[in-house]
């Protein structure tokens, strides 16, 4: 057990500042435990969003010492004994109060995402898919929607004006998931990713992958493959040439 200094940003959309708390920390604790202790003993109205406290729900996203993290998965022993711990709300989204932000941006983007299109000729119970064919999409379905990737992505974090055009990494993996789904009946996922989601804004600087608590390889396994799939249809000179030579109107089907 030791005493530590926590600097927690408190305030709302009108403004705010850091509040300092001296608080006890016990062996094996995570940042969220300490925040709860502050809440129970010093500031009962300290706003913090959390649910499962086991890294499964993705609610307690915040920035700890400047890095986007889940508070429940940030063990206290990653900090030096005398290092103050600074916690702020996610900086990309409007603040509600204290550590809670309004993450509705992400839900609005999900609302725009065309849903899974079931194959017309299969009834429930008739779906047959091979494990190797579902594995890629399964990786993206591990997403717990903590929105740390959306928060850390500089396209919207540093450029609020891009928000209307840019859906963000969380939705890119959704696009990839559906484009790679063995039975999804839509064929316009790539166009949609490029034209409606703003895939082209991504400059693959990989901060989304760096912060993902589920270790989803967002950039390597979703964004870049989607960029490649788009390139295959729009920018690949060989495909273009092939189309000219064989007078095909459409790109070779990816099959």
């Amino acid at each position: 057990m030791s005493a530590r200094t926590f600097r927690v940003w408190r305030g709302d959309a009108e403004g705010g500042d850091f509040a300092e708390f001296d608080v006890e920390v016990n062996e094996g604790e995570v940042v969220l435990d300490v925040v709860h202790r502050i809440q129970a003993e010093q500031a009962p109205d300290l706003a913090v969003r959390w649910n499962c406290k086991a890294g499964k729900c993705g609610s307690c996203s915040a920035e700890v010492n400047g890095r986007p993290r889940l508070m429940c998965m940030t063990r206290m022993n990653v900090f030096e004994e005398d290092e103050p711990v600074t916690i702020t709300p996610l900086r990309t989204f409007p603040v509600v109060r204290d550590l809670v932000t309004d993450v509705s941006f992400n839900y609005e983007k999900s609302r725009r995402m065309p849903a899974f299109a079931p194959p017309k000729d299969l009834r429930p119970g008739e779906y047959r898919m091979q494990q190797v064919d579902v594995e890629r999409s399964q990786e993206f379905r591990k997403c717990i929607e903590c929105f740390l990737c959306q928060n850390t992505c500089h396209v919207v974090r540093d450029h609020d004006e891009n928000k209307p055009e840019f859906a963000g990494p969380r939705l890119f993996i959704r696009a990839a998931e559906l484009d790679m789904h063995p039975l999804d009946a839509r064929s316009d996922r790539r166009e949609w990713a490029q034209d409606d989601q703003g895939l082209g804004y991504c400059n693959i600087t990989k901060c989304c992958s760096d912060v993902c608590p589920e270790n989803i390889k967002i950039t390597d396994n979703a964004i870049i493959p989607m960029k490649e799939r788009v390139a295959g249809e729009r920018y690949d000179p060989l495909v273009w040439l092939g189309r000219k030579i064989f007078r095909k109107d459409k790109a070779p089907k990816s099959e």
């Binding site: 890095r67 064919d133 920018y235």
Partner: protein, 268 residues
Amino acid sequence: MTATDRTDVSSPPRAAIRARHLRTDAWRRGPILTVVGITVWVAYATFRVFYQGDYWVADYHYLTPFYSPCISEGCVPESAHFGRFLPDHPLLPYAALSLPFLLAFRFTCYYYRKAYYRSFWLSPPACAVPDGHARYTGETRFPLIGQNLHRYFFYIAALIALVNTYDAILAFHSPEGFGFGLGNVVLVANVVLLWCYTLGCHSCRHVMGGRLKHFSKHPFRYRLWTLSSALNARHMMWAWITLASLALADAYVMAVAAGWFDDPRFIN
């Protein structure tokens, strides 16, 4: 390297936090090392490409990758495996056919893009550290939309890697016929590493099988994709190692060609 004071990250309705970022770790280290590494390499490569000498070891048929394929009329005839048809001019590299494409291949490589966008262009310099620019459109318009040509450059880079492989095989030579020296080890190692970089490229991964919807229907391509993916997982490592191996192979050939030291021979 422009910077701006305007940072949306700090103003309402977002949490009004004065500090532009609160990272306490050594986040500058990465971008600085990248800038230093790439600058040193580019300086060396520029010097060597325009040096137009000490690129061919006649006794052992060592040809540096920086001069392959050697197609200038200035090339030593024996080093030009594919003919000499380019005018000899000091501003025209001897491997002028391959070098621009290799450069473009690396310039549009997904890893290098990350590296230079972060370090040279500060967009962003590190995660959760503000972008150095007020406006940002990413790769949505000219010229950066051209990054989508990466696959095209990959195809050519793969051909050039074949040429490099051919060079490395021809280099098992001595005045007596077959020969094997330390230079061969250097050249072969370089070629192997180049293949690791090239075949692990994200575009290659896509072409091998990434573009398929059903792996189960294409087991062979699935194998290829798996292999490419395994290499791809370390793409950054291969990117840096091949920069080093290219420079090292070149420097080795230069040193032997210039007679700074003798190539240790194992056979002939």
